[in-house]
């Protein structure tokens, strides 16, 4: 409760007390938006954290070894992730559904494997980022978040945004109406990689150390959970999902030992009662009903 009382009565004190948490919320929101871009186009790709690692390492290495200033180093890291996404995406996006998810998980593992074996990355030890500056990082993070969220929000009604939505709803019908499905899927994948790569650079600016252990599979699952919980049918959902689930452990500090459990329960409740996420809006057909899950399976053809 203290958390909310302070938030409303003493916002400035709240800001300075929770600056790191607020920054992490921003990073997670950016990562979730990068996943939203591909989910919104009907693709479950889990390469985001791999691209994040690419962006993080490149921006840190640039900062340590050259005189490139931080924002430029971050953008170069994002662009490197973007360029890498093209040759990865061309073959991988021929897959769909669970196969696409698995192939992109594989990419994330390869990135971690490369980091662990290339001396320049500090291998398993990671890199100490003396250039990091948490106090200024928060400004870049939220500046970036505002830009990304605004652009994605504006994209909705555009030719590109509408093509993505059509592909998500029905790929075959989209193709039949003149939409080059392969091309638009690649655009989504590449754009998502750019946002994830920039988020990686920002994250590295927030922490004084970057290490391969931060870019493991569990982190992608975390981002996916933010997206599913918040809803990925509009731009607000991923931000809400990342905000709620990132700050939940802080809010529930008294129950810290059970926080994974509580996270899980929250997720199950969201999926049951708000199948399109907290901010997902309406959908065709009925709502997920809790009791229906426990209905005894009947023999014979299902009638409804």
């Amino acid at each position: 409760m203290d958390f909310f009382i302070q938030l409303f009565t003493d916002p400035l004190g709240f800001y300075s007390a929770h600056q790191l948490l607020i920054s992490q919320v921003g990073i997670n929101a950016l990562l979730t938006l990068s996943m939203y871009i591909t989910l919104n186009c009907g693709m479950l790709t889990l390469a985001n954290v791999g691209f994040m690692a690419v962006g993080a390492y490149i921006s840190v290495l640039l900062g340590l070894n050259t005189s490139v200033p931080f924002p430029a180093a971050m953008l170069i890291g994002g662009l490197a992730a973007t360029l890498l996404a093209v040759p990865i995406g061309l073959p991988v996006l021929r897959l769909s559904g669970i196969f696409l998810a698995i192939a992109t998980i594989g990419f994330g593992q390869v990135v971690v494997g490369v980091i662990l074996n290339v001396p320049a990355t500090g291998e398993g030890q990671g890199l100490i980022n003396i250039e990091a500056s948490p106090a200024t990082a928060i400004n870049y993070i939220f500046g970036g978040l505002v830009v990304v969220a605004f652009v994605l929000w504006r994209l909705r009604g555009t030719r590109l945004g509408q093509a993505w939505a059509a592909i998500r709803e029905d790929e075959v019908a989209a193709e039949a109406h003149g939409i080059n499905v392969a091309r638009y899927r690649l655009i989504a994948f590449v754009l998502g990689a750019f946002v994830a790569g920039c988020a990686g650079g920002l994250d590295a600016h927030l922490n004084f150390i970057i290490a391969p252990s931060e870019y493991q599979f569990t982190r992608v699952v975390g981002v996916l959970v933010f997206a599913v919980a918040g809803g990925f049918t509009n731009v607000v959902g991923p931000i809400i999902g990342a905000t709620v689930l990132t700050s939940l452990p802080e809010i529930l500090r008294f129950a810290r030992d059970y926080r994974d459990l509580i996270n899980g329960v929250v997720l199950i409740l969201v999926i049951l009662f708000l199948p399109r996420g907290i901010a997902g809006g309406r959908r065709p057909g009925g709502r997920g009903r809790l009791m229906a899950l426990w209905r005894w399976p009947r023999s014979g053809p299902a009638t409804s």
Binding site: T158, G161, A176, G178, N180, P284
Partner: protein, 279 residues
Amino acid sequence: MALASQRAGDIMSGESTVPREPLLRLTGISRHFGGVRAVDGVDLSVPDGSLYGLIGPNGAGKTTLLDVVSGFQPATAGETRYRGEVVNRWPAHRLAAAGVARTFQTVRLFRGMTVLENVLVGMHSRRRNDTLGQVLVLPALRKAQQARVTEARRLLDRVGLVNVDDRLAGELGYAEQRRLEIARALALQPRLLLLDEPAAGSGPPAAAALRELLMALNREGLTMILVEHHLKLVMDTCSDVAVLDFGRLIADGAPQDVVDKPEVVEAYLGKEGAAGAAS
């Protein structure tokens, strides 16, 4: 190929009694799945402006043929010419942008989008790329969007879907969904429209309205291929009819001539039935 097109050009410029190059010409089109010959050596000419009925018993290969024509399945053999161009290798989206629109046997709408949005997506290939401008909130683009919405409403009106613009497509009834598919296909401003059982699930009044719509579109010069089980609808509307059976073309021509052919009766009723009908 150059020679062939030159010859076609000669014909065009020659006497008007010689038939023009048809809008769509299939030569020896086959589509095999392993040993199954879903479509087997079909030759078909669909003249510009015709309403071409494609009938045949279940499993005759009608939908597979539409899939081949619209680029969703590659032909195992044969050649498709559309507006005189060989289009065999064209991906479906390119054919669609060139004016080949279609509907689906099992309705394929963008279910989570509104009725209006479904039609707007149909305009994709003739909408200029406004993405950057829209992101930057250029006011000039608002007018273009307004024009598209007006046009979409007119198309919805045309297929008889009124006051449902903001409903989700997935919430519509089955017959309404089929009509929405037609409106969405028309949003492409097609030259050739492939309709796969548009009357399925329609009651008699809806089927009558559909017949009116097809005939009106045809009068405006839209060429259509109509796959339909409703024989009456085909007989009433189509200018030409082709009959498929086991992937082979067994008859084509004017509707009345085709239905009287013994092969057609046999395909529909079986051998004994045909004997009974003949006597």
